[in-house]
């Protein structure tokens, strides 16, 4: 019998990856080149024929503003791999019949095409199926390809006709005197007046979410025809990005909302600004972004 699943060694490797061990590369939270940080879809889950406004949060520190081209890719994922995106979508040229053009710019309106559900592959662990939307970002001769999976509403096929997913909502980024400080000690970062910071500062930060950001939904742990659904509460995680320093926690959650930006490396010139983003994502394609700046002195 083939030992097809993870052996002890495979578990060890994965566990080490989870624990963040083993390398000296700059983390993804440090932004110093063309990057796409988030795509917000409003609404984030739509039925066939409906429209959603898609907005890209892209950045290119020290360079020109990137151009963004949007296309939906209709190539189905390879069978048996469990992938949600067919990698051939990366290289399809504009105008390919397997692409549906949604336009250019940092915001576009996308209309969900009529699809045979077998084209989009098996559902993920949240019982969701998705339309892959390709983004091509170009700036200063550099190209970045990204895929955003726009969730297709098929709730009418499920027992109880569950509601469509909604985006989480970030209300603010605040500073706190220390980790686990109370709400009364939070100080919002002024979006219009960058807060002054200095080399080796350690700025404790927290992202605030509205109380209804974590929705509940049903999952089936097995055969939907014979298994009772399980109600789960969304896991909303916040990814942090900055153009200087490093974060003590690159990703925070509702239960562990705090991180600290430590300005010990990648420091800009005095008088420059440091960009700071917090991106909230749920498990079903919903997201929200907040951007602030700091003044480095």
């Amino acid at each position: 019998m083939r030992r097809a699943l993870l052996t002890c060694r495979g578990l060890l490797v994965l566990a080490l990856a989870v624990a963040g061990c083993g390398n000296s590369f700059d983390p993804a939270s440090f932004v110093d080149k063309l990057r796409l940080l988030a795509v917000e879809a409003e609404p984030p889950e739509i039925p066939f024929g409906a429209t959603s406004m898609l907005a890209a949060t892209a950045t290119n520190p020290g360079g020109s503003t990137p151009t963004v081209t949007w296309d939906a890719c209709l190539l189905p994922p390879p069978p048996g791999t469990g992938e949600t995106v067919n990698q051939d979508c990366v290289s399809l040229p504009e105008g390919d019949p397997m692409l549906i053009a949604f336009g250019s710019g940092d915001r576009v309106t996308a209309t969900m095409p009529m699809l045979d559900l077998t084209q989009v592959g098996l559902p993920d662990q949240t019982n969701g199926v998705y339309l892959p939307v390709r983004l091509k970002l170009e700036a200063d001769g550099n190209t970045l390809t990204a895929f955003y999976s726009l969730r297709i509403y098929v709730g009418f096929l499920l027992p109880g006709t569950p509601p469509a997913n909604q985006n989480p909502t970030l209300t603010d980024i605040v500073t706190v005197p220390a980790e686990d400080a109370g709400a009364s000690e939070e100080t919002p970062l002024d979006p219009t007046t960058p807060a002054p910071v200095h080399a080796n500062d350690e700025i404790d930060l927290r992202a605030l979410l509205t109380g209804d950001s974590q929705e509940t939904y049903q999952v089936y742990d097995g055969n939907p025809a014979t298994t009772m659904p399980r109600s789960v509460t969304e896991t909303v995680k916040v990814s942090w990005f900055a153009t200087a320093g490093h974060f003590t926690n690159d990703v925070t959650g509702v239960d562990k909302p705090d991180t600290a930006l430590v300005l010990d490396k990648h420091l800009p010139a005095s008088g420059s600004t440091i960009d700071l983003w917090a991106v909230a994502r749920d498990e079903r394609g919903g997201s929200d972004v907040i951007h602030r700046t700091l003044l480095f002195q």
Binding site: P79, T84, A146, E283
Partner: protein
Amino acid sequence: MRFALASLVVVSLLAPATGRAQTRPSETAPASAAPAPPPPGKLDKPPRLLRFVEAEPPAALAERREVSVILTIDVDETGKVVKVDTAQSGGQEFDDAAIQAARQFVFAPGEAGGKPVPVRITYDYKFLYKPPPPPPPAKADEPPPIPTVPVDGRVLRAGDREPLGGLSVIVDDGALSTITNGAGRFRLDVPVGAHTLHVAGAEIARSDFKVTLTAGKALSTTWYVLGKEPYRSTVRGARPVVEAVETTLSGDELRRIPGTQGDTLKAVQNLPGVARSPFGGGLLIVWGSAPQDTRTYVDGVYIPTLYHFGGLRSTVNSEIVNDLSFLPGGYGVDHGRGLGGVIEVSTRNPRTDGYHGFVQIDLIDGSLMVEGPLTKNLSFEVGARRSWIDVFLPIFTTNDFQLSPVYYDYQAKLHWRASPRDEVDTFIFGSDDAVHVVAKGASDPTLDAAFGSHTYYHRILSRWLHRFASRATLTVTPSIGYDVPFEFNAQLGNTLLSADAETFEYNLRAAYRLPLGSHVRFDAGLDLEGNRWKLSINGPQRAMPREGDTGGGFGGAFAFDELDLDQITLAPYVALNITPFKGLLIVPQLRVDLYDFRGYQSSPDAFNHFYAMLEPRLSARYQINKWAAVKLAAGAYHQPPDPISFMRTFGNPAIRPQYGWHYVAGADFEPTSTLHVEIEGFYKDLQNLVVRGLGPGDPPLTNEGQGRVYGGEILVRQELWKGFFGWVSYTLSRSERKDHPDDPWRTFQYDQTHILTIIGSYKFGRGYQIGIRFRYVTGNPYTPIAGSYYDVNADQYVAINGPLYSARLGSFNQLDVRFDKKWTFHRWSLSMYADIQNVYRAENPEGYAHNFDFTQQSAVAGLPFLPVLGIRGDF
């Protein structure tokens, strides 16, 4: 009742002055009683027996009356016996007694050209039952004899208390002497008074014992003597069919190979044709085949896994292993269902000369074993082992990361001499691996994870060996078992994953051998394996990796499936061992593999597939001269799909068996009786391989894959000789795959062009031994990353792969060293060892780690310097 022995020496082949050669006993037709005349100008004088040692006849002789054991005896140029093997068995206990005695023979050496030369002879050791002689008549006018006292003694080897036969027991200046029998016993009538008894023999340091004898008081005593070079030979029953490529290693040699921590079965990883497993794991990659294509058997019964946790320890305790045979390909019809190789582990019978055992402790686990006789014809051995990594590993873990692996295994065997012609073994054994991992994603709360994995198997087998009067034999081995190849549960954030597989297994193996005259032997057999599988998987499809997959992990499309699969594979086979003339052996063979698969019964997806496949095979061997032989083998092989492949969501219920052809050609050389050189070339053509579906409309798995493997290997092996043993093995090979008809050929995932292994071990007296192992291996192939794209929903970059396995890691080289020290006392012995891996801390790359967007990479090295210390007591 007294027994008497007669023996007949038959010189069957004579050696040239510079070397020796003879067809191996297992490869010839039944030994002929007619001696072959010596070639002219070769041997002038055959060896002449100077000292014959009487064997202790087994009790069964009284019933059997006459038993013949044909031995091959290697006599060196000094007349000393250096090796004894069984050419034709007369029964295990008779074989053991004859070998024990023959090892003590002393010869005048053979001569060629006027000089002493080493010679191999065939010796027919006959046990004949004789009634006891009448007592001698009294002589009235003789003077009264000097009073004597009977001295009954037994001589055992210090440390393991093994009885030593064939030793000389000499009273004082030699007026009286005798030889110990196979049980180490002797009897002398010694005059009263003070005497010194000297015990001497080739295997021991000479020992003197002072005794004072009083009239009327018999003396019964047990003496312990220090052995010079304890060596237990390997005695194997003749195989039902002849193998073109087979390496058999004895337990004593295998236990002291550096880098294996005394684990006999890990020695397989050092044989030619076996690729190095990544991270030192236990994947058996044989002649370019996938690990799951090689099958492992214990006493003829298939086991699903040979090593704990992918290579840490073998699942069968080395102490119960008599020997191990490795068949990399082109093997005979008594095995099938695999496109790779075969590993046959044969367990030994319990010792009957008293109660023995051992306790061993090292940094990884502890084990113990006890064995001995229950009655005259019934003996037992029981052993168990348990790891304790989980005890001290928490010292190195944190609240955010906990790893707790545990394994154990057990073996219990009963050996029953039911009658002079029947032996019955009952063997219960099993293995269990469990690991729990808790990892808290310090940087990502959704990656808080808990994993649990549990794999185990249990077997009960019974083996009956019957010897007919016509020299035919019948072996029947029924067995049942219960396997859980995996039982996996994980939680990642809100996601629950599970994968479970279990099977009830039933097997029957029967083999019949019938000599038909002196030139032909007929073999027939039956190989039945049945399984009732229960499979259940709830998780992402990417969690079921296959060769040729790249990347993947937890995420993406989720799937669920359950399958109850009934699988029966039945294979009758026949073989003819034909010796048309001396030196040539041809073995045409035929195996018929019948597969029946049934699944999803009582559902619309029910399937029932039956396959009947012919597997013709042929092997041949020609002994060119005394020390060289050529060989070839070719044949068809099939392999059933693994059970998960039949799942409709993860595989394809219509998946078919894979098949292939093996072609092997080579030569064997024996420059001396203990030095062997084997050279082989091989080619494997693989078809119908199970691969991923290609595009829309394809099922997840199809049979479109093809494979080809070609290469050559050489093994130079020195058996234990004057304290040294070792080998050098080198393999040059290429393994390729084509996933779909229009795809180009690509490198196989585990292809390794060059594999060089050098092993040497030397015992330099006073219980000290040192061994080294050096390996050089071509780096493993890997798939380079051509780019990446950003998955916005997952907030991670996904690698875009270049051509599959088109790049190669740096080469691997490593030196391991092992030190052993043994203290021998009368009734027990104590051993300590240090097994140090990667002595010069080579940083061998095992893969690459990448930054978040795959624009940077750094090499990941394998295990660093690793010392393992152990201590063991034997009694």
